[in-house]
């Protein structure tokens, strides 16, 4: 089963990994920051080697976002994200794993979840199905 892990984060200045740029992480010692990076690297290595990671992408500063709406047949383009929130969509991972529980376990190990951000776990819909 494939799951989309949506990473929401609130870094001081946009950059990746976002968790290191949150106010709380910036206040930490360099050893603590290095330890955080190592934890994250461990997670990445684990899901690459297990064959669970399908794909992942990081996103640029939300300020670079364009939101497009069409009103009365006219496209209205605004700068900035569709949802106004403190935490912004920072990137995504697609993992293919045994269960929702496993996907949740992976999500919980993203350091962003501890620094005011969150990881949303969404299943990807399948194009195949069982007849009823």
């Amino acid at each position: 089963m494939k799951y989309l892990l949506l990473i929401h984060s609130n870094p001081e200045n946009w950059g990746h990994p976002t968790f290191l740029r949150t106010a709380a992480a910036l206040a930490m010692s360099s050893e603590e920051r290095a330890e955080l990076s190592r934890e994250f690297e461990t997670l990445l290595t684990e899901i690459v080697e297990s064959g669970e990671l399908v794909t992942a992408e990081a996103l640029p500063d939300p300020a670079q976002t364009r939101t497009v709406r069409v009103r009365d047949g006219v496209p209205a383009v605004t700068d900035g994200p569709f949802v106004e929130a403190k935490e912004q969509f920072a990137g995504y991972f697609v993992v293919d794993c045994e269960s929702l529980e496993r996907a949740t376990e992976i999500a919980a190990r993203f350091p962003d979840t501890r620094f005011g951000g969150a990881v949303e776990v969404r299943a990807l819909m399948e194009r195949s199905g069982q007849e009823m």
Binding site: S50, G51, D96, E126, R127, S128, Q130, E131, M132
Partner: protein
């Protein structure tokens, strides 16, 4: 059935025998498996031009063992460079010409390989991937395509699986007598999972996944030849044939799902139906009963009805009662409830569903809501049925199922929205 490419079919059949010969001789499953893949690729590119060699098995073994010994030699050289003292010498037989290593225990070797690939230290996803590559002779790219993941992801899964097997100390030899039943069951389960992956495929971008069903049938057929007296192997093959027979009727050209009751049965694969029914009938009369046989028997009862209304639901119900005793699980209960509803009325079925609301394995599963919706509709409670169809539509993660369930709900509203 689709016409099979001659060379590819031959290579697939020979793959496990080549691998078995190499593992038997060199003992290194991990490296041998890679070497066999390379030999298969070499054959795929060379044979169409040069023609199939006189002894394809010998050719493959020769090429694969050359690759393997090259690999082992360079590995050894690497270790020598790294080690301060080259303390051990390599036994000569390691580099012996491989032409003589082809022993033709073939079929037993295939089972031993299957058991190894379905090792309990592996996750189901890894067991499936490794089985398809080492026994099925599929390339990593083909397996990746079938599971809709990048090739690199699948390559990782396969390489991790091989490392795990090595770490678990598993050897290429038949399992000890006391472990055999359990290890064989694991093999059947993996074959069943491969089949299901393929069977649920419909149209469009998923159509190549259908090959997995054909591959599962092919591998299960091989196992029935190795274990002709095992009722569960025969039961599994019959179940696959009877299920796959419905494939031409289970989807419309646009990919939407057609429920069993509405399928055009004239489009079922008659050859598979006949073979499946004959196989399960023969098996039930002589083998100890098991869950795959009972599931095949249920599929056979459905297959024997020329029209849905002629289904012998009493027999289906009796078989589900039996299955519930042999292999109780909530998914069986769901189907059992449908059969009970058809024989004893919808309330009987609904009563069987009630305890499942407290069963966390199935409480939030779309199938529970879908079955309840169907039974409520049979009971005449259209409002309740509609609500349950909508719940099921929200819970499923399959697009065609969601579409089907929403259509069911829409059918029950006056304005059809």
């Amino acid at each position: 059935m689709q016409p099979e490419n001659g060379t590819e079919d031959l290579l697939r059949r020979l793959a496990p025998r080549v691998l078995a010969a190499l593992v038997r001789h060199y003992g290194n499953f991990e490296a041998a498996e890679d070497a066999v893949q390379e030999a298969l690729l070499a054959a795929t590119t060379q044979w169409p031009g040069s023609g199939v060699p006189e002894s394809p098995l010998g050719w493959l073994i020769r090429v694969a063992s050359r690759r393997l010994t090259d690999e082992l030699r360079s590995e050894l050289a690497r270790r020598r460079r790294e080690a301060t003292v080259a303390s051990h010498t390599v036994p000569d037989e390691l580099f012996a010409p491989a032409a003589d290593i082809a022993d033709l225990r073939g079929t037993d070797d295939t089972l031993t390989l299957l058991v190894l690939c379905c090792h309990p230290s592996l996750s189901p996803a890894s067991q499936i991937a490794l089985t398809l590559r080492a026994v099925g002779g599929l390339t990593t790219a083909e397996i990746a395509r079938a599971f809709l993941v990048p090739e690199a992801t699948m390559a990782q899964r396969i390489s991790r699986a091989k490392q795990r097997i090595k770490a678990a100390g598993a050897r290429f030899q038949p399992p000890p007598e006391e472990e055999r039943p359990e290890r064989f069951r694991a093999v059947l389960h993996v074959l069943y999972l491969i089949f299901n992956e393929g069977y649920t495929a419909t149209a469009g971008p998923d159509v190549h996944r259908a090959d997995l069903a054909a591959e599962a049938i092919r591998l299960t057929r091989t196992v029935t030849r190795i274990l002709p007296d095992d009722g569960e192997v025969a039961g599994l093959l019959a179940l696959m044939l009877l299920t796959d027979a419905r494939r031409p009727a289970r989807t419309r050209p646009d990919g939407s799902l057609v429920p069993l009751a509405e399928q055009d049965r004239s489009r079922w694969n008659r050859a598979y139906v006949d073979e499946g029914i004959a196989l399960i009938t023969r098996t039930l009369s002589r083998a100890p009963l098991g869950p795959y046989q009972v599931q095949a028997a249920i599929a056979a009862v459905h297959a024997e009805a020329a029209r849905a209304e002629e289904t012998d639901w009493r027999q289906v119900l009796a078989l589900y009662q039996l299955l519930e005793r042999l292999a109780p699980n909530p998914m069986v209960t769901l189907n059992h409830a449908v059969a009970a509803a058809m024989v004893q009325g919808p309330q009987a079925g609904l009563a069987m569903l009630a305890p499942l609301d407290a069963d966390e394995r199935v409480a939030r599963h779309h199938r529970l809501s879908a079955v309840r919706a169907h039974l409520l509709e049979l009971a005449g409670d259209h409002e309740g049925a509609r609500a349950c169809y909508l719940t099921a539509a929200r819970l499923t993660t399959s697009l065609p199922e969601q579409q089907y369930l929403q259509n069911q709900a829409a059918r029950l509203t006056s304005d059809g929205r």
